[in-house]
Amino acid sequence: MTQEEVLALVVKYFTEQFEIAAEKIKPEAHLFKDLGLDSIDALDMVGYLESELDLEIKEEEIKTIRTVQDVVDFILRKSAEKA
């Protein structure tokens, strides 16, 4: 997947799952401060990435994800590792 494809997937996930307006989901948007997610939302997101994209995510990796771009980069990196 390209960066644009992953970003589109992330935007779709946030709009459908958390009902966040698509225009708010910018790469630099902070998941908690700008998008209003909480710790349960974060767990939900990790569960989604693991089950839907078949990614294995370690506890310490979760703490590095703060922005939408972090989510995109993370998916790209983990997908490349898996390939």
Binding site: E16, I40, L43, D44, E50
Partner: protein, 283 residues
């Protein structure tokens, strides 16, 4: 009577800013089985208060039948006084086409709510108009079991707070239970119960499944507590007494002790009564 469950501490009025106060007394029927030896105010008590606030204060507006982005943020043990706050807004509609999004003909408005317990936020979320139809369940497989043991072997709920009557079919990650709406159900009115109780039925279906898994799946199961509901929608405001309900829940995903379930409640003829997504932590 609804007042056997919780009581408005002062008369509710039509002003949305009135912030009605409700008390759950130590002899509240919520504590009849939720849970034996450890009285905990259930989540549906808080949502019932929100619905009651809406029922009294939203004159001229159809009672919103859906909840979205509900979070239960406090474990309330024993008697408590809770304050509800419901706010009218036109900016609270869901994303068109999202799983719990509003119907095309529904008003583009929602009502953010909070339930406060002292200085703590006990629950919050959004009350909206939204249709059923988002949940799609997988079929049962050949390994599904028709469980003949009592549901109380798998479920901690007792007394009047146990609304699920028996397990019909179960397999890891998927469970179907049956129930009949009775005057003894929580949040009962004269002819039926507040449909919020169907959220409790879904939660008990999930709990029965995890209790069953605990016995049958290595590393599976475990008792949990509800921390939220991304969406819950019922097709009517009340479930008439005598309604036979089939509640089916499947495990959507999990991460560590966190687990997400989706489920639906239908009548024997297939009529959809309610659906929802539950978020729970394993204790």
């Amino acid at each position: 009577m609804m007042t056997d469950w919780f009581r408005p501490a002062r008369p509710l009025d039509a002003a949305l800013t009135a912030e009605p106060r409700f008390s759950v007394a130590s002899d509240s029927l919520f504590f009849d089985g939720h849970f034996p030896g450890r009285p905990i105010v259930p989540g549906i008590a808080l949502l019932g208060m929100v619905r009651e606030t809406a029922r009294r204060s939203l004159a001229g507006v159809p009672l919103p039948l859906a909840f979205r982005r509900v979070r239960f943020r406090a474990l309330i043990e024993g008697e408590a006084t809770l304050v509800t706050r419901l706010t009218a807004t036109t900016a609270a509609a869901g994303t068109e086409g999202s799983p719990a999004g509003p119907a095309a003909d529904a008003p583009a408005a929602g009502f953010p709510f909070e339930v406060r317990w002292g200085d703590q936020l006990a629950a919050d979320g959004l009350l909206v108009q939204a249709p059923c139809g988002a949940v799609k369940l997988p079929p049962f497989g050949p390994d599904a079991v028709e469980e003949s043991r009592s549901i109380e072997d798998f479920l901690p709920h007792r007394g009047r707070m146990r609304v699920a009557a028996s397990i019909l079919r179960v397999q890891p990650g998927l469970c179907e239970v049956e129930a009949e709406a009775l005057p003894s159900w929580p949040l009962a009115f004269a002819t039926g119960a507040d449909s919020v109780v169907l959220l409790e039925l879904l939660a008990q279906t999930a709990a029965a499944m995890t209790g069953w898994e605990e016995r049958h799946t290595p590393g599976g199961g475990g008792r949990g507590f509800l921390v939220g509901s991304r969406f819950f929608t019922s097709s009517s405001a009340e479930v008439p007494f005598g309604t036979l309900c089939r509640s089916t829940v499947h495990s959507l995903r999990h991460r560590d002790n966190y687990r997400v379930f989706q489920g639906l409640v239908s009548a024997p003829d297939g009529t959809l009564l309610a659906e929802g997504e539950l978020q729970a932590f394993r204790a």
